[in-house]
Amino acid sequence: MNSNKDVIFSILEGCVKPSTELIYCTESRYAAYPIPVGKSMVAVRPLSHLVSLPLQTRRRIHSPLYSDQARDYSADTPLQNMLKAAKNIIKNKFGEERSIRWMDRKYDQANSIVTSDGILGLFHGMHSLVKIDEDSNRAAFEIEAELQFDFFDGFHTIAKRSTKFGDDVEYLDQWQVDSQYEELFDRLKRLYELPHSSKLHTWTDLFLWTDQDYSTFPISLVTKAVHDAISSFGRLKPNRGIALMFITISPDGSKGIKETMASLEKISIQRCQGPARIIWAPGLNQRQSSSQHPISSVDEIIDSKMEKHALQRLESLGFRLPQLFSHEPNEMLHIGHQDATKDSFIVISSECWTGTWSGSLEIEGEHLMS
């Protein structure tokens, strides 16, 4: 496995930013390594781990919310503690029932924001729970600011501060907090100071599957496929999953070539979503065939023997093709030269469902409606 790791890492290093850290996970599906400040991560995993991708991703995103939680002390997270402090204030004004309802709804919203934008999303952006209202007094070179919190009946000021132009002040520093909001402010600050609050990093899970050892595939094909997958799918998403599968077409019964996928791997394929990408790599046998015109473009794949054999091979491996190709795939051709082999290959890549989204009007709707 180490050699596979070396091959994949050397290829990945050529196509990700230098600030990206690579990890190779073969055992635990859930390993959530802390992301070093300013770094992005690419985790290389076997395809079978893909079945757990939604849970993996959300555990990782939500884990900072549990980070200052003593195991034998309280099950409340810093987010819940902050909302409880706000709930108590609302309870005094509007009664217990409304305050509980507010807290439930706010907790849903807050979790959604954390899922899509990280903890900082609670403090910045259009859905934030707090905002700073600034008024600059140019004559006095001062900025008067009010820190406002989104309570039951809208935003209310909970603290004020006055700073000079050019002062380098942290978001929640130097506030004069109204005494009734002290606990709320304290809880907000603890939430803000949690580690991993930054959303500047990205996390990529790359799920790999091959029907034989990587060394038998042309290195130019593996390099092309990895580069193409990394640069094609969800580049701007903070969390993304990519499945990359290398398949030998018409294996000649050589030892070591898998005849079918494992049960979990077959199920994993369902996590693939959106249009897949296919790289066709005709081997020397295919290209030098006297029985038919050698393949030199993607168009020539259609209705070719290679396509027929590839589909047979995918079906015998256990791929459910209508599901995998429910969207029209993007196809490419790879003609190797220096490292061409007799065998033909097909590489399929696809973006995977991570259990997160931010494109919906209702970001997350997993709460009771009636």
């Binding site: 635990s28 959300r58 555990r59 980070s67 199920i267």
Partner: protein, 399 residues
């Protein structure tokens, strides 16, 4: 089945020591505790008692009290003898397993698999961050990490209880709920619409006479394409229908969309109606349309009784004969003690090592977030009810 703890053992067991104590003062303090009514004085006596019983430097088995904040002033080290006489020993967490646990309830006569199989769902031992609970629903359930009930049910039985009818082939990842009346998954736009709709469900349908079913302005092409796709897919219109029936159906839905847009009861939907919506994300349709047209279609699809009644009004007197049987029959739902609209609950699935069929990971009423293999024959779902009592929910069968 024994409840399953959500964290690894983290216990401070007391090493028992047997130290002789004999003091009249101790007897006096113990009597005083029994008689004391003031909590402040009780605390003072408790402190004095603990100091009196404190072990000496030469005694073995001494340790720091785990709750020094319960006493006044500085505490010396204690030992098990001190703890036995402690005035707060009943509340002390020392040596007590106070971990949060989940209880698993089997639904519909589902047979429990071996405990070890279920424990796989709670095995996060390689997790780097030890503070994250060993809860298979972290990030999906608001109660993750807390003691609660989870539910176990055979995959097939769950599908029988929450079937699906008449929805597009859209991937279900973005569906957020499930409507038990129409047996359909619900999407974010449905949630917005139903929240407004249910507020006024007591209003007589007479008000719907305001719906402008007259020929309106020219329909947008995008809405027209959407209408054709949905009405055909749902079987409301078939290829053989005369063109005027299609036109009347267009006019009908244009009227419904206009009604949602202008009626004061649906005022809350206006901002969303003008917003752009992603097909397959906000709604199940594979192509886009204006927000109001999407809502009009979803309304009729989710509320077939309204659809039928309004169609009768619409087509009365017209030459087209619309076949009302094309609209699916609404199930009678006993809402007493049960929930009409369910959230799409997160589930873990246990599959046999030799799984002969490919099970879907996205179900109309549940999203499968993790899969584990086990040595058994049945495919089993472990569900977090997101606050719902599924025992109660299933007791209220659809009639």
């Amino acid at each position: 089945m024994e409840p399953i703890p959500l964290s690894d053992p983290y216990l401070n067991f007391i090493e028992p020591t047997f130290r002789k104590i004999k003091s009249e003062k101790i007897s006096f303090l113990l009597y005083s505790l029994l008689a004391e009514e003031s909590s402040v004085k009780y605390r003072s006596i408790a402190t004095e008692l603990l100091q009196t019983i404190a072990p000496s430097e030469k005694d073995s088995g001494r340790f720091d009290c785990v709750h020094p904040e319960w006493f006044d002033g500085h505490l010396e080290l204690v030992d098990s003898t001190s703890c036995n006489f402690c005035a707060y020993s009943h509340y002390c967490t020392m040596g007590r397993d106070a971990r949060e646990r989940v209880e698993i309830i089997a639904l519909e006569n589902t047979v429990f698999p071996p405990r070890n199989a279920l424990l796989k769902c709670f095995d996060f031992s390689d997790e780097a961050d030890e503070h994250v609970p060993n809860d298979p629903f972290v990030g999906f359930s608001h109660s993750a990490g807390k003691s609660r009930r989870l539910y176990l049910i055979e995959f097939e039985k769950f599908n029988d209880k929450f079937p699906s009818e008449n929805y597009f082939d859209t991937e279900l990842q973005y569906a957020v709920g499930y409507d038990r009346c129409s047996s359909q998954p619900l999407w974010p736009i449905d949630q917005l619409f139903l929240e407004e709709y249910e507020k006024q469900n007591k209003i007589s349908l007479i008000e719907f006479e305001e719906i402008p079913f007259t020929k309106l302005s020219r329909m947008k092409e995008i809405d027209s394409d959407l209408l054709d796709a949905v009405t055909l897919k749902n079987g409301w219109i078939v290829e053989e229908d005369p063109p005027d029936l299609r036109d009347e159906m267009h006019c009908f839905f244009q009227g419904i969309a206009e009604f949602i847009q202008s009626n004061e009861h649906f005022q809350g939907l206006r901002s969303k109606g003008w917003a752009s919506m992603s097909p397959g994300v906000e709604h199940p349709y594979p192509i886009g349309g204006s927000g109001f047209m999407v809502m009009a279609l979803r309304w009729m699809q989710l509320k077939p009784d309204d659809f039928r009644r309004l169609l009768v009004e619409r087509f009365a007197g017209l030459h087209s004969n619309f076949d009302l049987t094309r609209i699916s029959t609404r199930k009678q739902f006993s809402s007493k003690g049960s929930t009409k609209y369910l959230p799409r609950v997160p589930a873990n699935v246990l599959v046999p090592f030799e799984l002969s069929v490919n099970i879907p990971l996205e179900l109309p009423a549940a999203r499968i977030i993790d899969v584990h293999e086990y040595d058994g024959n049945e495919v089993l779902l472990l569900i977090d009810g997101l606050g719902l009592d599924f025992q109660e929910e299933l007791r209220n069968e659809l009639k």
